[in-house]
C-alpha cells in the first residue's frame, strides 16, 4: 500500500479530478494525488497516484507508484510498485517495478514486472 489507508490518502491528498467531473484529454501531476471521477485520456507524473474507488479512467497512466481502487481501462507504466486493491478493475498492458494484485481485484492483460532501472 502506498498510503497507510485509502481513507487517509483520500483525505490528505489533493484530488486531481473531482468525483463529478468528466475530463477528456491528457493531464500531468507533479505531486502525489488522488484521482476521482471520470477521465478519458492519459494521466502522467512521477509521484504516487491513487485511483479512487469512484474513478473510471480510460486511456493510460504513467506514475511513480499506483494504487488502484477504481476502474482503469488502458495501459499502465509505473516505475515502482502497483497495488491492485480488492474490487478494482484493470484491463490493459501493465509494466511496473513490483506488483501486488490482491484477491478480489480484476485484471486482464499482459504484465511485465522488471526491477527498477533494468
Amino acid at each position: 500500500m502506498i498510503f497507510r489507508s485509502s481513507q487517509e490518502a483520500s483525505e490528505s491528498l489533493p484530488p486531481l479530478v473531482d468525483g463529478v467531473v468528466v475530463l477528456k484529454g491528457d493531464m500531468a501531476f507533479n505531486g502525489p494525488g488522488v484521482l476521482h471521477g471520470r477521465l478519458e485520456g492519459t494521466v502522467s507524473g512521477s509521484h504516487a497516484l491513487v485511483v479512487a474507488a469512484d474513478a473510471d479512467v480510460r486511456g493510460g497512466v504513467r506514475a511513480g507508484a499506483l494504487e488502484l481502487h477504481g476502474k482503469l481501462e488502458g495501459w499502465v507504466r509505473v516505475e515502482r510498485g502497483v497495488v491492485l486493491e480488492a474490487g478494482s478493475e484493470l484491463s490493459g498492458p501493465l509494466r511496473a517495478g513490483a506488483l501486488d494484485l490482491k484477491e478480489g481485484a480484476h485484471y486482464r492483460g499482459a504484465v511485465t514486472v522488471v526491477p527498477e532501472g533494468a
Binding site: A98, L99, D100, L101, E103, Y107, V111, V113, P115, A118
Partner: protein, 249 residues
C-alpha cells in the same frame, strides 16, 4: 454284557461375556460360547496370567485408496499396504530416480528425480516430489513439488505448492495446476493455473498464460506473461470438482 467306555468327566462353564452356561469336558483347555461365540478359557489356562502385551506407538498417516477411495491409516514407515476396501496393492515407498526410468510411478511416498534422472513414464503420481532432472509424463502430486537445478516438467504438473528454488532454471512444457506457485529461481512455463503466485526478489517467471486470483511480485523480482484473474469461488469449485484423493487414474 457289554462294557461301555467311561465318558470323560464334564463340568459346567459359564461365558464371561454373556453369562451362558454350558457343559464341557473337564480336560478341555478352552471352548467357544454356544450363545455368543466368545472364547472361554478353561482349566489351568484360565488361571494363567496372560502374557504382557508389548505396545509400540506407531506413527500413522492417512491415505485414500486410488482405486476405491477407501480412507485408511497406514504406518508411516510401511513400504506397501493392501487396501481393506478393494484389496489393491498400494505402493508407499519413496522413489529416487537417478537414471532413466521408463515406466510410470504410482506411489504414496515421495519421489526424487535427481539431476541426471529421467522419469520417462506417462505418469508420475506421488505424495510429494523434488525434481532436478526431467519428468516426461504428467506429474500429479498430492503435496508439494520442488524444482531445482535444470528441472524439466515436459508433461505438466499438478499439486498443492510448486516451489522453484533459488538458483533453479526450470521449464514446464505443459500446464501447471497448483494452489500456490512460489518462485525464487527461474521458471519458464506455458500455462499456469493457480490461486496465488509469489515471485521473490531475484526470482523470474515467464509464462504465456496465467490464470490466478492473486499475484505478488516483490521488488527485484521479474514477471512476464498474460494474466487473467479468476474468481476465487469459481476456482475453488473447479478445484473441488477435479480433486483427487489418491494417485490419479
Amino acid at each position: 454284557m457289554m462294557l461301555r467306555p467311561k465318558s470323560p468327566k464334564k463340568v459346567q462353564v459359564s461365558c464371561g461375556a454373556c453369562g451362558h452356561v454350558q457343559w464341557e469336558y473337564e480336560a478341555a483347555a478352552g471352548t467357544s460360547c454356544r450363545a455368543c461365540g466368545e472364547r472361554i478359557v478353561m482349566g489351568a489356562a484360565a488361571s494363567k496370567k496372560p502374557a504382557a502385551k508389548i505396545r509400540m506407538k506407531v506413527e500413522r498417516r492417512e491415505i485414500a485408496c486410488c482405486h476405491c477411495g477407501h480412507i485408511m491409516a497406514v504406518p508411516a514407515e510401511a513400504q506397501s499396504w493392501q487396501c481393506p476396501g478393494c484389496s489393491s496393492y498400494l505402493d508407499l515407498q519413496d522413489h529416487v530416480v537417478a537414471r532413466e526410468h521408463m515406466t510410470a510411478i504410482r506411489t504414496y511416498g515421495r519421489v526424487v528425480v535427481e539431476a541426471k534422472g529421467v522419469a520417462g513414464g506417462a505418469k508420475l503420481e506421488c505424495a510429494g516430489a523434488e525434481v532436478a532432472g526431467r519428468v516426461a509424463g504428467h506429474l500429479a502430486s498430492q503435496g508439494d513439488v520442488a524444482l531445482r537445478g535444470e528441472a524439466r516438467l515436459s508433461g505438466g504438473a499438478q499439486g498443492r505448492t510448486l516451489e522453484v528454488e533459488a538458483g533453479a532454471k526450470a521449464e514446464a512444457g505443459a500446464g501447471l495446476d497448483f494452489d500456490l506457485v512460489r518462485v525464487k529461481g527461474r521458471l519458464k512455463a506455458r500455462d499456469i493455473r493457480t490461486r496465488r503466485i509469489e515471485v521473490a526478489d531475484g526470482g523470474m517467471l515467464q509464462a504465456e498464460q496465467v490464470r490466478l486470483a492473486t499475484l505478488k511480485v516483490e521488488p527485484g523480482g521479474w514477471f512476464e506473461g498474460r494474466v487473467e484473474t479468476v474468481e476465487p469461488e469459481a476456482d475453488e469449485a473447479d478445484a473441488a470438482g477435479a480433486e483427487q484423493t489418491g494417485p490419479v487414474d
